[in-house]
């Protein structure tokens, strides 16, 4: 999978989006 040219940028985008999303989710979910 590392051989795919766009793997590295995709890896970074996914991680930044995921961290932002999960952080927001912690804020959003209030029981």
């Amino acid at each position: 999978m590392n051989k795919i040219k766009w793997f590295k940028p995709l890896w970074w985008v996914l991680h930044i989006v995921a961290i932002a999303l999960v952080f927001w989710l912690g804020h959003f979910v209030k029981f």
Partner: protein, 152 residues
Amino acid sequence: MKKKIKILLILGLLFVSIGGGWLHYKYHPYDATGFGWMPFIIGILSLVVVPVLFYFKKTVHWAYLINGFSVIIGIITMAHFSFEVAPLWANIVTLLSKFVIGRAIFCLEVYPIDSNPKVKGLGLIRYPNMGFWYVHLVTWSLVYFLGNYFWR
């Protein structure tokens, strides 16, 4: 036989997702509570997108990832609910079956049936091994906790 087993496992995944989505919708419909949107969207994804992605060999990695992360987010939010409101530990254990079925489909499709891959060192915590999921469960829990604790 391999194809038959794969379809049976996809059906198993589908039934677990239907049951889980149904329960969530009964407890907190998306229009009644804000957070009800989350299991609703993830439920639709698990019902419509994940089984289709698992069916095709080319997209099995995406299905494995989406399925695994939907389980992780379910574990985290239900653990949060268990600490704050009422215990849902039994439901979390039930949710784990969704992960196991997804991993079974992945292994069936990706590895030769009699293989026994030996992974060592850093490879243990890299995709697609189990350590990858443990690391992500811990880090997602931490990020979720930080968002909940510091952003009020």
